[in-house]
């Protein structure tokens, strides 16, 4: 029974579509997050004075950038959850339904 379900899912082109789309999306967002974070860290390590540039009174560029990264982390998780809850879950539901048919 379980083997039969597994075989049906493996042969369903929607399964390949789901895993490809989800993996691609997850990897893209991960790379974006890593690029933002390590971009920040490398500036701190190599050119810290960039973050010391004043933008408004004593407030320096580093402060909004830092807050931006915190907000970006949250927003990126939101973007992923939104797409996963709608598109990926729907595709997943169809795959399982078609396998049980």
């Amino acid at each position: 029974m379980q083997q039969e379900l597994t075989r049906k899912i493996r042969n369903n082109p929607k399964f390949a579509e789901l895993t490809q789309k989800r993996t691609k999306f997850g990897v893209q967002l991960s790379i974006l997050m890593l690029a933002i974070y390590y971009g920040f860290i490398l500036i701190v390590a190599f050119a810290p004075s960039v973050f010391g540039i004043p933008i408004s009174g004593v407030i320096t560029l580093g402060i909004p950038v830092g807050v931006f990264i915190i907000v970006a982390a949250f927003v990126l998780t939101g973007i992923y959850v939104r797409r996963a809850n709608s598109e990926f879950d729907e595709l997943n539901r169809q795959i399982i339904e078609e396998a049980r048919r």
Partner: protein, 574 residues
């Protein structure tokens, strides 16, 4: 707090030791060197803490009725919602150290505090994008369930349980020593009281209430901490008519470092250390057994996803609050001599060093700010919350350690899967009591030791042993038992060895001369993770036996379950 007697500067860093040890900087390392001088008994704080204890014991009593099966005990029956789990994860992460340690770092160095907050946060999105759903779909109670899904049970469970217990033990030592020092500073009670209080309460929560009680203790604490921190940040901003600019301006005028607090300082010394630290924080989080266990407490992959979304938001919000609290402490605490051990200066006015002379050390910056913005009652509340935080984290750690013993070692390795639910729970409860006693003993044994590096080591081990095995078991078809076992062990050994040979332990704990450390970096993750991944790849590829072929063949059905959730263990009907 204003009544308290002068304390030693050496205690600065008490709390930093709890998690900021992970940073491996001099800041974190100078910590628990000397004895902490006990303060006057703070009855308000003790009273508030007792209210918290009473509330959590009522919850434990309730949870005990609902905890019957092994599934209830390990994973709260899978009935925790995404939002509740998000709060609990955030609670595990918002330790006393994040709160007191990071606000202290902002207090002394300004902008640099933000660098650490960001490092602690960015691992969460990665966990969501790459492993959260798969983890939920494959696992049952512990992450070893996932790692050993298609591999041989005995070696892989033994490895995963060892990785878990090492991480739990290192973390426990740091938390217990931190609890002992904090109780002296915040409540004015002796060190040993803290160990016994924490040990006894955590045994009660875990043995009677299992994961359900542990989760709710963490949720309540998270709400109290978020509420208290929000109030403090609000009061600070109100003081400056809600203008961050005037707050920052006032801070640069008061701080001895002046405008330098507005830009990166010297905490991130070189790129290798920075990258290594970033890796440890990011992937260590994805290898902490007490965090991973939380993914099994929700009903399905969707709820696991939501948990991380809420956790990321709450943790991010909390770090923004600690940043405001740190700057608030600069403006409101530094300008008030009553928070300092003062001497009379040459001009007859009170003279004090705004960093070194802070009563209780810089980690008390947030505590003093609570006094400045909310008076004695609020000070008592924040002190109680700080101690409750340690208690909640310790309970989660103990449950993770007990599960590794009962579910992985006893049920799978010793009883070979023939143990009943009741036997497994019984072993788990015995393990909890033993771990509680061991924790009290370790807290006692390490009182005079410098334990600042221990959480850093815990993160490094989690990132170099648990995480690579877990990740590759989910995504790499070629992984074999031999590869996972040898590679995981190499990661574990290299992480421990490089920490011991690094500057913090070699020079500051083992007292070799300065500059003599054989390994130049405090954080080994960059190297030990590379060793683990390379080892797993090499020994899996070389493994050409029949078992190895069977393990590869079993990947497909595992992959289908991990991606679709087909056959995943669901929520029990409560």
């Amino acid at each position: 707090m204003k009544r308290v007697s002068p304390t030693l500067a050496a205690m600065a860093g008490v709390v930093a030791a709890l998690t900021l040890g992970a940073t491996g900087t001099a800041f974190a390392a100078d910590a628990i060197a000397g004895a902490v001088q006990q303060q006057a008994t703070n009855w308000t704080a003790i009273g508030m803490f007792l209210v918290f204890v009473a509330g959590t014991l009522v919850i434990t009593y309730w949870a005990a009725f609902k905890t019957k099966t092994a599934k209830d005990f390990y994973s709260a029956g899978g009935g925790i919602t995404g939002f509740q789990n998000g709060l609990a994860i955030a609670g595990d992460y918002m330790s006393a150290a994040s709160f007191l340690g990071i606000s202290a770092l902002v207090y002394t160095s300004g902008f640099d505090g933000l660098i650490y907050s960001i490092g602690f946060l960015v691992g969460w999105p990665i966990i969501l994008f790459l492993v959260a759903e798969q983890l939920r779909n494959l696992g049952k109670y512990t992450f070893a369930d996932v790692a050993s899904y298609r591999l041989q049970q005995t070696p892989i469970r033994t490895l995963a349980a060892s990785g878990s217990l090492v991480v739990v033990a290192l973390y426990l030592i740091a938390q217990m020593v931190g609890a002992g020092k904090l109780i002296q500073l915040l409540f004015g009670l002796p060190y040993l009281y803290a160990l016994v209080i924490v040990g006894v309460l955590m045994i009660a929560y875990v043995t009677f209430g299992g994961m359900l009680a542990t989760t709710w203790v963490q949720i309540i604490k998270a709400c109290m901490l978020l509420g208290g921190a929000t109030f403090m940040a609000f009061m600070v901003l109100r003081h400056f008519s809600f203008s961050p600019e005037s707050m920052f301006k006032a801070a640069t005028e008061v701080s001895p470092k002046g405008v330098a607090i507005m830009s990166p300082g010297t905490l991130v010394a070189d790129p290798v250390s920075a990258i290594s630290l970033g890796l440890a924080l990011m992937f260590g989080t994805a290898g902490l057994p007490h965090i991973l266990m939380r993914f099994f407490t929700v009903a399905d992959a969707k709820a696991a996803r939501k948990s991380v979304f809420f956790a990321t938001g709450l943790i991010g919000y909390f770090y923004i609050l600690t940043f405001i609290i740190g700057f608030g402490a600069i403006t409101l605490v530094m300008s008030d001599p009553t928070f300092y051990t003062t001497a009379v200066g040459a001009d007859g006015a009170a003279a004090y060093d705004k960093v070194k002379d802070l009563i209780g050390g810089t980690n008390m910056a947030a505590i003093h700010l609570a006094d400045a913005v909310g008076g004695n009652l609020f000070l008592g509340f924040i002190s109680a919350v700080a101690f409750a935080t340690i208690l909640a984290v310790v309970a989660g750690l103990t449950l993770a350690g007990a599960s590794a013993v009962s579910h992985d070692l006893y049920a799978s390795v010793i009883a070979k899967g023939r143990a009943t639910d009741a036997q497994e729970i019984r072993v788990s409860k015995i393990a909890t009591v033993v771990l509680g006693i061991v924790a009290i003993y370790l807290g006692y044994a390490f009182e005079q030791q410098n334990v600042a590096f221990m959480v850093g080591l815990a993160f490094a081990v989690a990132a170099s042993c648990n995480f690579p095995v877990l990740l590759l078991s989910m995504f790499w078809k070629g992984l074999t038992t031999k590869g996972a076992l040898i590679g995981g062990l190499l990661g574990l050994i290299s992480a421990v060895a490089l920490v011991v040979l690094g500057p913090t332990v070699w020079e500051k704990v083992l007292m070799h001369e300065s500059g003599s450390a054989p390994f130049p970096y405090d954080n080994p993750a960059l190297f030990s993770m590379a060793v683990a991944f390379a080892g797993i790849w090499l020994f899996s590829t070389l493994d050409r036996g029949q078992t190895a072929r069977n393990e590869s063949a079993a990947f497909e059905s595992q992959y289908i379950r991990s991606e679709t959730g087909l056959g995943a263990s669901g929520a029990s009907a409560h």
